[in-house]
Structure formats: C-alpha cells, structure tokens
Assembly symmetry: C2
Homo-oligomer: 359 residues x 2
C-alpha cells in the first residue's frame, strides 16, 4: 500500500522554526489536548527528509541476522501506547546565556498514540550474542552537518545514529517500539515513515526516525549524536548523556501575556516526567510567593503527560503565574534553567504573566 502524502500540506498547522532541515513546534493549542493530532505533533529533523528502501536490517553481534519489511513488523505482536515525546532542546530559548542550537520555545513536546512491534521481540528474533553490550540504531537520514572541526572519518557528512544499552533495548518491560502507526495511521514522512523507534520516557532523540538498521555492538557506540551532540556539557561537573525527560509542568491556559476578565479562571496545563508519574503540581500567583496545590489528573497511561487544573479567583492587575511539578522519584523543577553549553533539558519553572481587567 502506498499513501501519497503532501508534505507541505502536512506541515501547515505547525510553527516552523527551520525550513531545512525541517523543524517545527506544535501550535500552542495542541498542548490542550490529551492526544496531539498527527499534524499538530512537533517535528525534529537533523537532515533533509530521506528516502527509505522499506527494509530494516538487524545484524551485528547476533546469531540470526534479519531483513524485515513493514509486513514482517506488522506480523509480530503489536503494542500500542500513548507516548509523550519531547525534544531535548525544548525550552532552549529560555536559558541564559542563550546557548547555540535550534531556537525551540516551549512547544517541542507532543503526545501521540504509537503502535508497533516490541523492539525486544525484534531483537529476540535475531538472537543477540552474549558479548553484545549496546544496540545502535541507524536512520536513513544523513547529510552535511555543522561540525567544527570536521570529523577525520566522515568529514562533515553524517548519518543519524544513536544507541541504547542492550539490557534496556532487549527488556520487554522497556516497551520500546519499532512503531509503524501514529494515531491509527501509517507514519507520515516527517514522523519517520515507514517505521521508527519510540523509546518511552526518554527525550525524543532516542526515538530514531526512518529506522534502517539495528546493530548489536560489542563495545559502546561513540558517534557524533551519542557523544558530541545530546550531551549535557555542564560548566562545573562531568558531562552526562541526555537520557530521560525531566519533570516539567506547562501552563496551557490562560496563554502567556494574555488579558483576561476578572473573576473565576480555570488555569490548565500539562505535566510530564521521564522518571516516574507526576505526583504533584503546584501553582504560584505572585513573585517569590507561596505555592498552592493544583488538581492533578492521574496518569491515563504509563508514558503520557497528565492534565492539571487550578481554580483562580483573578483580581484586576498583572499576575505572575508559575506551575511546578514533582514526580514519583522526588524530582522537582528548579527555578533556574540548568545551563549547559548546548542547551538541553531545560525544565525550569516557567514564569508567565496574565493581565486581569475589569471587576
């Protein structure tokens, strides 16, 4: 089955931040829904849209190398989950000093229903050998990339490759998908057609799109997107790889810098974390002021954001409005963005203001 997708039309509802490679935020309204419509789901690409030959090779340190088609993947047991994906650079524009990198505001986060085969099943079929330690995932996307200095092996031509530990990748409980459907339809080009990885709880860099090959490695992978980019380069402590999404709440209503009438206002938002469900959201309505508990919906599933509301008696004047989430692991949002050179993982409490008018 071939579905012709008009790529330009598929992008119309997004807020484009880079035409080439195409990167775009979700429209602000998209954060109001539990499930993001496909064409409102943010898009992150590192290269131009690739051509994919329709096969997925599984090899490296395995006893049974495989070459799988979309039909082969669909023939495996299917798993379906709503998964919140967030770009590791989401919120970069709010960090100071402003780091280098794509100028993401706060809308590089979305939640879609993903359906696919379990990565653990795919790996089990290939029978990894005992000396395997990592699994690396290669996308069909490649091209020139701004690197200073350029790499001796590849020059400035790179392919998007990421790895996970074999223990993580092969564990059925990880529920990592080789996904082929998004919101009940085959993947669209910008979302990794014909199939992609979806790694729950991790920043979306791990969810390799346009997946072309899976290779079991007997030593750790050290490619550019594993050890150059997507690393927290802290100024004052050892560097760390970007892994789990960090606990975060966002206000979806009222909009930042909006003017609303005085009276009862229901403040709404979303909250999520890669390190456990969110257990509390608090709201503050004055600078350095006290925090009050919001009503937090229980998780609808293990991998998706949660909605919250707060009833506010809005009085005339300007109010600073903040929301702060805490997760089951005890992580809480910091007040100051955690600065690192490439601007990843900003989960600081956001400050917005609302101007209230009338009686």
């Amino acid at each position: 089955m071939t579905v012709e997708i008009d790529v330009q039309q598929a992008r119309e509802q997004l807020v484009m931040i880079n035409p080439q490679p195409f990167n775009a935020e979700a429209p602000p309204r998209a954060l109001g829904a539990e499930i993001t419509p496909t064409r409102e789901h943010y898009v992150r690409s590192n290269f131009a849209l690739p051509v994919h030959d329709g096969t997925l090779s599984v090899g490296g340190a395995v006893d049974r190398p495989l070459s799988l088609t979309l039909a082969d993947l669909r023939a495996l047991p299917a798993v379906e989950h709503a998964v919140t994906l967030e770009c590791a650079g989401n919120g970069r524009l709010d960090t100071r000093p402003l780091p280098t990198g794509e100028p993401w505001g706060g809308y590089a986060v979305s939640t879609a229903v993903w359906r696919g085969a379990r990565l653990s099943d795919v790996l089990a079929a290939a029978a990894p050998r005992p000396d395997g330690v990592e699994v690396c995932f290669t996308g069909a996307d490649s091209g020139s990339y701004h690197l200073t200095p350029v790499l001796p092996e590849t020059g400035d031509h790179l392919t998007f490759v990421r790895s996970l530990s074999l223990a993580h990748a092969a564990d059925p409980a990880s529920e990592i998908l080789v996904a082929y459907d998004m919101n009940g339809e085959p993947l669209e080009p910008d979302h990794g057609s014909p199939f992609r990885l979806v790694v729950p709880r991790w920043f979306a860099v791990a969810s390799v799109k346009w997946l072309r090959s899976i290779e079991v490695l007997t030593r750790p992978f050290t490619g550019e997107f594993q050890t150059g980019h997507y690393v927290y380069e802290w100024p004052d402590r050892p560097h760390e790889p970007v892994t789990y999404m960090r606990v975060r709440a966002r206000v979806t209503d009222p909009a930042p810098a909006s003017t609303i009438p005085a009276g009862t206002c229901t403040v709404r938002g979303k909250a999520w974390s890669g390190t456990g469900p969110v257990t509390a959201v608090e709201v503050s309505l004055a600078g350095a002021g006290e925090w009050q508990a919001a009503e937090l919906d229980p998780p609808r599933g293990p991998y998706e954001w949660q909605s919250w509301t707060f009833t506010w008696d809005a009085t005339p004047g300007r109010h600073s409005l903040r929301a702060r989430a805490t997760d089951a692991a005890g992580n809480v949002q910091p007040d100051v963005p955690p600065w690192n050179r490439l601007g990843y993982g900003n989960n600081a409490v956001e400050v917005q203001y609302v101007d209230v008018v009338g009686q």
Copy 2:
C-alpha cells in the same frame, strides 16, 4: 488655575499591573517614539494618589527655611530637558528565581520633556548650613505598606521619602529639577502634581513625586525606601543602593514572538544608560552567535534614550534576536540578569524570537 483631570481617562492607554497603588507600564508602541506622550508614560506609585496642599517646604539644616508655591517655583529660572525615567524594577519578570515585587515586564521606561526649577537654585535660596550632608525629599503619598516585620517607629504606615547627597543635590551641573510641567502641560496627578523631583540618569525612585518637603540633613537618611527597599541585595557581595540606570538596549520592532515576511527587515530599538551616552549597540540573530554593529543615533540630549536600527535580511524560519548596548563608561549588558533579592536593575540582554515566513 485648576485643571480637572479625569484620572481614569488619563490611565486608559496604559497597561495596568496594579490597581492600588496604581502601577502601569507604557503600551509597547510608546517605546517607538522619541518622546513618550504623557498618557503613555509608565506610572509607578507606592501608595494611593495623595492630596497635596500646594506648598513645598524647604528646611532642616538651612539658614533660610522656605515655603514655596507653584508660582514661586515658576518664578525661578526654568530648565527643560527630555529625561528618560526607568523604574528600578523594570524587567523583574525576566529574572530567575522570580523575585518578590511588582511584576514589571519591560515597559516601565519612558521619556518625557520635563520643565522646572533647578533643585540647586531652590537649595541655594534656603542656604544650607555647612554641616549638611544629605537632602531628603518627602512626597505627599503615604499609607500602609507590606513590611515584615513592621517597623517599631511607624508600624506599617509609611510615607515616601528618599534622599540624595547634598553635593549631588546642590550642584547645578546635576540639573536635578523640581519639575512642574511634563510635555508642555502641568503635571497630571499620576505623574506627581503639582511638582516633583526629576533626577536625570538615576533610576526613577529618586524622582520623588508629589514633592511636599525638602530637608537638609546632618546625617545620612535611613528610611525604608532608602535602606530597606531600593537596595541591591546581592547574594554574594555587599548590598548597594540603587542609583544610576544601567546600560540597556530594547528592541521595539519587530515585536517579540511576532511573525514577519521574509526579506529586508529594519530592526529598531532604543538604548539608554545612566552612566554615560550609549556608544554602541550590537545585534545577534542566532543563539550564541556573532554580534553585528547596529546604526546608533547620536544622543539628542544628555538625559534621553537613543534610537538605533539594524538592517536584517530575514530568511524563513525562527530567529532568536538580541540587542546589546555599551556605554561611554565601558559598561556593557550582561547575558544573565544580575539577581538580587528584590529584583532591581535587570539590564541583561533580552532574547526574543521572530518567526519569518514565505520567500
């Protein structure tokens, strides 16, 4: 002459941030003009609008105590200057952690033409005694104020009082005004009628409104608004009083988070400093990117902001946009807001984004 001013009507064009005491930002368009129309000039008050009895007493350590009327002040030699006034809390909403205090965004800055008597002439007429060290200025405004703990002398009832050194106040070169006209008209109630201090180059807290008395002191003044509020409470170095405005540039066009067509775009803005004219404005159009020189207008007068422009060939996509000013004293804007407990003097480089669409 009595002029009836409809206070509500006078406030209609402002962006109100607190109804009582009345505090309001200039509308964003106001920063585009060289001179701010009176009813677009931001307003900062600490208490309700006061009743003023029309007299100004000059006393304390002086040989000739005076009681002056508006007519007496108008009979003195008049001086007129365009003066940029900025609230010390301007930009507080952009500091992290969010400090306590009025939630000023970035529009508590305006430039009006002020006309009045020289403070140095008023003081000379009263003949300060040689043991005078400071001059304190009392406004007619007073009321309850949120203080924890309350002061033993006054409880939570305070009057707005500020001081300057006698050397500064009595120097004709300071050109401090006891102003009675603003933009060619008698002062309006929100701007300190019938007369107020205008202290060029200083954050506007020094420009006491509704001026009721001037008193020469033989020891430093230690009132709440001198040593409690309007002090930089740095976390890691000695506290300092709020004095001169800090060097700062703002972008007035394009507006923050706006969408503009691709092509030539003239970026416009204002820049000012209390420590000398602005000598350079630079613009950056990418995160952590290079700075390029903007065209900076020479000062139109010694106490007012300067306009600048930058011609930008805007290409499709999102662009982070920053402007950075340097003044004649060598001061340059920092990348990170200079955090202090009460959130004063934030002159950090602002980051805004612009989404450019089309070809």
